[in-house]
Amino acid sequence: MIQSTSLLESWTQENNQLASGCKLSSHVFLLLCLSLSGIPPHLDRAQLELSVVYNTCVCFTAQSQFDEAELLLTQTAQRLLQIAGDDPGTSDPSVLWRTALKSVTGTALHRRVLSLLCLQWGVWLAKSRLTAVQDFQEVSLLEAQSGAVWNDCRAETKEKISNIPILVLDPRRLVDLLKICTAIVQGAERLTEGWSVLSALQAASASPAPRALIAYTHLLSGSCLAHMNRPQMALQCYRKALETDPRCVCALYQSALIYSRLENSQAEIQALRILHSMLLLPSTTEPAMAADRLLSPSLFLCSQSLSSLLSVPSALSVLHSLALKCVIHSRVSEGVECYLDLLAALQSEDQHGVRVHAAVSTLPKLPRLYLEAGAALLMARRPADCMALCDEVIGSTLDLLPEKVLLEDPVARRVAGSGEVTEEAENGLVRLLWTAAAYLLQGHCYSQLKDWKQAVTHYTRCINLLVKVHYKDTDKDAEQGVDLCVLQRLKGLSLAGRGISFAQIDRLREALRDLQLSRQAHPEGVSARRWYGEVLWRLDRKQEAAACWEQTWSNPIPSLSEALPVYAQELQSGPLLDSAELRQKLQELGPT
């Protein structure tokens, strides 16, 4: 008996040494655990054994070895039942734990068993076994009641500290952590299933927990409100999340999405800008949890729906959407800066470009980025830069262009397999459209520089490329539809551009022909119609001109949209007709 006692003491001391050591390892605890489990279970040693098991499992969990932890926990529960002489005759963990807990109620072991049960809870949570966690929640209520008892025990045992085995992690802190993590994971799951989880999340947000986790509860509340179609309240929640944890980039991203939905473009641009700068800071994606802690909350937050709610696109994608928004919402100079940053980032030698691979890229193809940037430069009245960019695109695509492109019947193509289209992303048509768009932009540049001859040359090159595409049916199906639409618009725009250039150098017949063709290719083109009227006027066909103007009078040039590439829309870069002058002309005509 004396020997046994001394052995007990030495084990206790060993445990305490390990627990207070700076480098915790599950191996050494496991060794101790094994040496303890070698002797038959006994009530005297149970206190120590349970403490060692607790420490071992905490280490296991910290190293993400959940299976090992669970196995050890189940074995311990069975050993406990051996002591009590109880046999539930099942290996179902929840039944085991219930029986074990019942058997130790009122004894000194109770709180030890409870803390082990908490670890089991953590393991379930980490393995996303939420039903098991739900079953267990009633027990956790029970545990909350016994909180007072714990404190008593603690005060009482403080005196003879040396004899008590030290725990590596305070069970109360573990419980707090698990509570909020459970709330977050359950909230995310139910949110994906379409439930309202506001009250639970708001309750969780009041609990003591790391800031990052509190921010997650606010974030989820926001998502919930957004689902319930209350964007303003959702924005409030996101703001709270950001206030709680400034590194919660997801809240920024969600806010940007909501602003976009509210069509508050200025706020959206602002949000995107901040988001981009946040993403460029080192290690923002991983919320910096307190490093001194043994158990990181991320261990318990591995649910699929949560990570999809928390996902944020890559910095480059954010930069691209920021640039596009700026250009579309007439903040051209900012947009140009963003585009140039983006192109620089893509060209850079360092790992930044390579790292893009990691996330699934939502960036458009590089030539399209170049052309968008070129369009932005053109709108910012920097034609020389725009031409340089277009030259690069033309240089890289020109000798890859097919002699002609024949678009098959959309129905036949669909039968042939839709997977083929995405497979061959850079096919002839796409390349041809890139090159044509580059020529179009160069034509725009020259007309901005008032070099009409060069403009005519480049518009002609564009047209010559576009007529290489033959297609039978104008039936637009979903995949080819965008390409066909771009094709038609490019045709319309280049013909209009050439017509306007011809008009500028007084070759009115050619101008009239081109503008007419342009109207056929793209009937919505406003400037083509106005210039058509102008040319008619100059040809002294004033009645027709008046009719044409009357027709187009009401509708202004449409603002840019996101549905089509910027370069395939009317950029208002060319020579404009003064509407006051037109009106005057009409009035002149009126009396006659």
């Binding site: 480059l316 893509l346 060209q347 030698e349 360092d350 790992q351 470009g353 390579v354 790292r355 893009v356 691979h357 990691a358 699934v360 890229s361 960036l363 193809k365 590089l366 030539p367 170049y370 690069e392 695109v393 240089g395 890289s396 695509t397 000798d399 890859l400 262009l401 097919p402 002699e403 850079e426 002839g428 390349r431 890139w434």
Partner: protein
């Protein structure tokens, strides 16, 4: 063409090469060379001082070695991961005496910077380290960020790309290394790269680059990684394009050994206009940019070529590829002046070379054997090319190629020999010796194969020149025996192959025996019931024989007679010492097949004899007759009419005189001997193994059971008849059984035997064989009908009348043979 022999100078010996790792020679920093010999060591050799500077002891066998661009870090790939060593550690410290031998460094797992399973190749592009690993289902290319600050920290994983394996069988060869190279557009000079491009990095002509990798790669000026895989695929990955993935450029259909690029034209200005990939068996592909504006926007020309393989390792300089076949080092000039520079080569010529790839690449031998690893050639200012090679014996040698100009090759004066040191010549002699021994073993094995082939052809002639009726000098004899195994009776045929020819049947021949029941209905798919047995045997000298045994039929199986066709097979793949399973499919069936004789097992062979019934039955004493009558009455009364099994019988009559003559008997009782002869004589090349035939005196009776378990009685009696008003003594053989099939089969068998008997005797005597043949035909017809009837099924109503008709026919025509 190239008369000047190259000078091979041996620099160091590293011992025999290991098998577990790969053998490599790679340039390091300055004049340092890193050498791996297939073991766990990496040797650092200074080319300038020709001394071994350091030895790195790795924890596992080395797979690949690569140096970072700034030449500060050395990455070593082992089976389990990539280790990083600072090159500064390899430079001997000042206190360290240069003469005291190489620095030895033991590399531990602390230097492990990337944990990866089964790393095959390494490459460094800028600050990115790439590893190519084979996993169970795919090849995976993984990108790591090289740590600049402290090299002991593990590298950050940037991204990983995978390419699924084609099929596990093709890629069973896990040992062969993959090739990883990097190409980039030639108009782009990477700012961080050293002035001379590192090994495995090739600037590519911008047009070719665009054509191969698309506008996006060209626009982003992205370096592109090319992987040559052991399954023959050449795949590529643009590094800097968001969302790019591994795609296939070409498939060489054999393990890719080398990928390089060559500067073709003068206008290229240092960038390569041609990509080249070499396969293990010598297939080569040259990839060049074609004319603009071809359909599909591709416009790249893939020219296939072929060099004599196998290619062990290769390297190339501006326009020449050097490769080793293991027995020789060869040089291929890609753009030889005589064959036309690629720039001037028209499309027509190119088409011709595509259609005839063998004529495309003609290598020049450099007479150096046993090279397993080559290092990128260095060209001195005088135009002399120097190659570093590692031989299979672990010798590091410097191979110096003479200056190759037209004048040189024409006026190769002795002056070039004078300056050569004795050491050079000695090592050259050593090389020749090695090469000669390799060639000698090849010639010896070829001779061996030719000798064997001669034997095979001799035997083929011997056996194929004779007609079926001739006795072949190699033939089979057979004997049948019933045996009982696991409660099942089966008829076993023991087949004895005799070699009576003067030639030896050597190892590699196979006796093939096909068992085909004759009476299986053809419309039911005749081939289904044929069974084929193969017996490989090892050598059969003249006069020797070999015995094999095989089951012919089981009890209850009545599909007799059975034809047993014997033939000899010799697979051509035996010559190459390969098993058939590993041979290519189209060649698996390439073999000599020589038909031998055919054996026939008929009803008589398959007859199981039992003791004859009580003599009372045959000797018809009145008491027995009465007893018989009573029992028959009883049966009839008890079971009704149908229960009594009907007895069928058939008779064959042969003139006694004829028999006597044919069997060569003394005038006596031919009937006994006829039965004995019927049951014992080997007919159709098959004998029966029987204990002895019990017959009683006057009328011989044999009882037995047929294979379909029906009891059968065979009797032979001498009868006096009158034929064409002439008294005659004949022997009548009667077959009696309750089974029609047995009666028909036995009748047929008896007839057949008598036919062969009479045919044998026919040479000396006129025998009415025409009648006999007629009878035989009739019997065969009947047998067919019986088979048909039984296969239609007993239940159908047509069967009994048909059987009855056959029976009637049998009864009505007791044939008389005179």
């Amino acid at each position: 063409m190239m008369e000047g022999r190259c000078a091979a100078e041996s620099w160091a010996e590293f011992g025999l090469l290991g098998k577990s790792g790969s053998s490599l020679v790679k340039c390091g920093t300055g004049t340092d060379v890193f050498i791996c010999t297939g073991g766990e060591e990496v040797y650092v050799f200074t080319a300038q001082e020709k001394t071994l500077r350091a030895v790195l002891q790795m924890p596992a066998a080395v797979r690949d070695v690569v140096v970072s661009h700034d030449e500060q870090l050395l990455f070593v790939a082992c089976w389990s991961g990539v280790y990083c060593v600072n090159v500064q550690l390899l430079v001997p410290s000042f206190s360290h005496d240069a003469g005291s031998g190489p620095t030895e460094l033991k590399i531990s797992t602390e230097c492990l910077v990337a944990v990866a399973d089964r790393v095959s190749s390494l490459l460094v592009v800028g600050s990115v380290l790439l590893t190519l690993c084979r996993t169970d289902a795919s090849w995976s290319l993984t990108l790591y960020q090289i740590q600049r600050t402290s090299q002991s920290d593990p590298c950050d994983l940037l991204a990983s790309f995978s390419l699924p394996l084609v099929s596990p069988k093709v890629q069973s060869d896990t040992e062969s290394r993959c090739v990883l190279v990097c190409v980039y557009p030639g108009d782009l000079m990477p700012a961080s790269s050293p002035p001379h491009p590192p090994r495995s990095h090739y600037p590519l002509q911008p047009l070719l680059f665009r054509r191969l990798f698309g506008a996006e790669a060209a626009l982003s000026k992205s370096p592109v990684v090319l992987c040559g895989l052991p399954d023959g695929r050449l795949s590529f990955l643009p590094l800097r394009i968001p969302g790019s993935r591994l795609r296939i450029l070409h498939s060489l259909e054999q393990s890719v050994v080398f990928v390089g690029a060559s500067a073709v034209m003068e206008t290229d200005a240092g960038c390569a206009g041609c990509l080249i990939a070499l396969g293990k068996q010598g297939r080569a592909v040259l990839i060049r940019a074609g004319r603009a504006g071809l359909e599909g926007g591709g416009g790249t020309r893939f020219t296939l070529g072929c060099v004599p393989g196998p290619v062990e390792c290769a390297c190339m300089d501006q326009s020449r590829v050097y490769y080793s076949t293991g027995s020789d080092l060869l040089m291929v000039d890609l753009w030889d002046g005589s064959s036309g520079t690629a720039g001037r080569q028209g499309d027509k010529e190119d088409e011709a070379s595509r259609s005839n790839p063998a004529a495309f690449l003609t290598p020049i031998s450099l007479n150096v054997s046993g090279v397993v690893a080559l290092h990128q050639p260095a060209r001195s200012s005088a135009g002399e090319v120097q190659l570093l090679s590692l031989s299979v014996r672990g010798r590091l040698q410097s191979i110096r190629l003479p200056v190759r100009t037209q004048e040189d090759s024409l006026s190769k004066g002795p002056s070039s020999q004078v300056g050569r040191s004795v050491g050079d010549i000695l090592s050259a002699i050593g090389d020749i010796c090695e090469r000669a021994s390799v060639l000698k073993t090849i010639i010896r094995s070829k001779n061996q194969i030719l000798k064997q082939l001669n034997q095979v052809v001799n035997i083929s002639f011997l056996l194929s020149n004779r007609s079926e009726s001739d006795l072949k000098p190699v033939r089979c004899r057979g004997s049948v025996r019933w045996s009982r195994l696991l409660q099942r009776d089966s008829l076993n045929l023991t087949c004895v192959l005799e070699n009576l020819s003067p030639f030896v049947l050597e190892r590699g021949w196979t006796l093939s025996v096909t068992v085909l029941p004759l009476s299986c209905p053809l419309e039911a798919g005749g081939e289904a019931s044929s069974v084929n047995y193969s017996f490989p045997f090892s050598g059969l000298g003249p006069g020797e024989s070999v015995e094999v045994s095989l089951p012919v039929a089981a009890a209850g199986d009545a599909s007799f007679p059975v034809t047993v066709t014997c033939s000899l097979l010799f697979s051509l793949w035996r010559f190459l010492g390969q098993e058939e399973a590993t041979a290519p499919l189209d060649l698996q069936s390439a073999c000599f097949s020589l038909p031998l004789n055919t054996l026939t097992v008929d009803w008589l062979h398959a007859l199981r004899l039992s003791d004859p019934p009580a003599p009372a039955r045959s000797s018809s004493s009145p008491a027995d007759l009465l007893q018989g009558f009573i029992s028959s009455r009883q049966l009839r009364c008890r079971g009704g009419q149908a229960s009594r099994p009907e007895e069928y019988s058939a008779r064959v009559r042969v003139s006694s005189e004829l028999l006597r003559d044919a069997l060569g008997l003394a005038p006596g009782s031919p009937r006994v001997s006829l039965l004995e002869w019927l049951l014992s004589e080997g007919c159709g090349g098959v004998k029966m193994e029987r204990k002895g035939i019990k017959t009683d005196g006057s009328s011989s009776v044999i009882c037995g059971s047929a294979p379909d378990n029906a009891t059968v009685k065979l009797t032979a009696e001498e009868v006096n008849v009158e034929e064409k008003t002439k008294p005659l003594v004949i022997v009548e053989v009667q077959v009696k059984s309750s089974s029609v099939a047995a009666v028909c089969g036995l009748h047929h068998a008896v007839l057949r035997r008598i036919q062969t008997l009479l045919q044998k005797a026919g040479s000396s005597r006129m025998v009415p064989t025409t009648d006999l043949r007629l009878a035989l035909q009739q019997a065969e017809e009947q047998r067919g009908q019986v088979w048909e009837a039984s296969s239609v099924g007993v239940s159908s109503g047509q069967t009994p009348p048909l059987l009855l008709r056959v029976y009637q026919q049998l009864r009505d025509g007791p044939l008389l043979i005179l």
